[in-house]
């Protein structure tokens, strides 16, 4: 029942999509029928192009995300724990926050060329801010009394960071990481569309340019499916890590 109610809206949209295209309400050169897209998807999945490009894209997204988690938790923790660092880095973070990271794509091409580095760097930038902010807010939000109680039980200041502040901030940090997962997909596709060498974004762009719309939609479905799967997996991991919450 649960699984059915979750996919029912998707099935309805697919049926609606099929109906409006088959009936001629929407011209098929603007929107190919859902069934045509599925056929194109099966063809792509059994061919030799889709999977290598998927691996390229996912590897990039994972690398950019992973580096952002390491660097972002470091910067966020530095800001939360050292007043001086917060004074220095805080205004930079705030100024950088509202900037759409895709605006930096031309600059990043100048810096890093057209290879993997440029794309991974863009994904890293996109993921960085939510990680920094959630780490900072999470660490700042830990109840002072928990720190006091650890100190009075004999914990050193360093132990308090590791054993109290970090687990106490974990719910917020994980919320930030979930946002970063979504951003990694966003930046992955947009960087590959613009710096078009390979990857799923490149496939979407090149099928679109060549008028192969069913294939283009099929790749969009693949990106959507991957994003959804990554999000669900992350939510499952979070609720495992936070199983102590009622």
């Amino acid at each position: 029942m649960g699984a059915l109610s979750r996919i029912a809206p998707l099935l309805i949209v697919a049926a609606f999509w099929e109906a409006i295209t088959r009936s001629g309400l929407v011209p098929t050169d603007l929107l190919p029928p859902f069934s045509t897209v599925v056929v194109a998807l099966v063809k792509l999945a059994t061919g030799g192009t889709l999977w290598p490009n998927t691996v390229d894209s996912v590897a990039r997204a994972a690398a950019g995300f992973g580096i952002a988690v390491v660097v972002g938790t470091g910067i966020g923790a530095g800001m939360a724990l050292w007043r001086g660092f917060e004074t220095a880095a805080g205004p930079l973070v705030q100024a950088f926050f509202p900037l759409p990271k895709s605006a930096l794509i031309p600059l990043v091409i100048v810096w890093f060329g057209l290879g993997d580095t440029a794309k991974t760097f863009l994904i890293f930038l996109g993921c960085l801010l939510p990680v920094i902010l959630s780490t900072y807010n999470g660490l700042r939000g830990v109840d002072q009394v928990l720190v006091w109680s650890a100190r009075s039980l004999g914990a050193t200041r360093a132990a308090v960071i590791r054993e109290v502040l970090l687990p106490g901030a974990m719910p917020q940090i994980l919320t930030g990481l979930r946002t970063a997962v979504a951003f990694s997909f966003l930046l992955m596709v947009s960087s590959e569309l613009i710096i078009a060498t390979n990857g799923l974004g490149y496939l979407i762009g090149s099928y679109g340019d060549n008028g192969a719309y069913p294939a283009m939609f099929a790749v969009i479905l693949v990106v959507t499916g991957l994003g959804y799967a990554a999000d669900r997996a992350f939510v499952a991991l979070s609720s495992f890590l936070l199983r102590w919450r009622e």
Partner: protein
């Protein structure tokens, strides 16, 4: 009072802070207090009288601005495991089970393995939490969480037990039971206890001595001997002496509240 007899010696302690909006507040003004070793002392007063501030200063959580606090281990400069603390809102680590919480302080004392396990179990049993070792705090009632917090603190064997309205967040029945159990544990362990409360009957029931505090600025205005905690008989609550002393202390607190109100006008 010789040094071996002194549990806590507080000498001319003052503490000021500036709230986010406005004038500096004198939370404590020239407070001196001797708590003999192995005795149970209650800090009683209306909210805002600085009793929790005083307790946090003894705990080493706030910097000492003026005056001095000494224990058998020397002057208080920082938190230390010889001063165990029980907070009003329990302050359990929510990501740790009851047992992991109790093991935390034991581990900090350098005890590990089977010995640590045994010790944790002993204190979990002592506070009647057997069967809830693997529960997370969020799965327990307030009373049970405070038992777990008490076990966690007792398990590190502190000389001094600092309690900040530990039963204030509990319902009346649970509070009464916890008071009785605390007394039983205190009779066995004879810690030096400083117990912050605004509940007059609680102070009279639990303490050897009571400091009645006044607000704005926070001062100790009366020191009262109670000592019902050393009586073995049950039903102390109903004795005329107990009821008389509660009334007497009530009058003192009430006049302090009235005076503070007049001062602030």
């Amino acid at each position: 009072m010789s040094d071996t007899q002194t549990g806590i010696a507080i000498d001319r302690l003052s503490h000021r802070y500036v709230p986010r909006s406005g004038q500096p507040v004198t939370a404590l003004d020239n407070v001196s207090l001797q708590v003999p070793r192995n005795s149970f002392h209650a800090l009683l007063g209306p909210s805002g009288c600085g009793k929790s501030t005083l307790l946090f200063l003894i705990g080493g959580f706030l910097p000492i601005q003026e005056g001095q606090i000494r224990t058998a281990s020397g002057p208080v400069l920082a938190p230390g495991p010889e001063r165990g603390v029980v907070f009003q809102n329990f302050a359990l680590f929510p990501w740790k089970t009851v047992k992991q919480n109790v093991l935390y302080g034991i581990g900090k004392r350098g005890i590990r393995g089977a010995e640590a396990d045994q010790r944790a179990q002993h204190f979990i049993d002592l506070v009647h939490l057997s069967g809830f070792e693997n529960s997370f705090p969020a799965q327990l009632s307030g009373g049970m969480q405070q038992r777990a917090a008490l076990a966690r603190t007792l398990a590190t064997d502190p000389d001094i037990l600092l309690m900040d309205e530990p039963f204030g967040a509990l319902d009346a029945q649970t509070r009464r039971i916890m008071q009785e159990e605390l007394l039983a544990i205190w009779r066995d362990t004879r810690k030096t206890v400083v117990f912050v409360t605004h509940d007059v009957a609680e102070a009279v029931y639990l303490a050897d001595t009571i400091s009645v505090m006044s607000a704005r600025p926070g001062r100790i205005c009366q020191r009262i001997d109670a000592g019902f905690n050393r009586r073995a008989e049950t039903g102390v609550f109903k004795s005329p002496e107990f009821i008389g002393l509660v009334e007497h202390v009530w009058d003192l607190v009430r006049s302090e509240v009235d005076e503070a109100r007049q001062r602030s006008h």
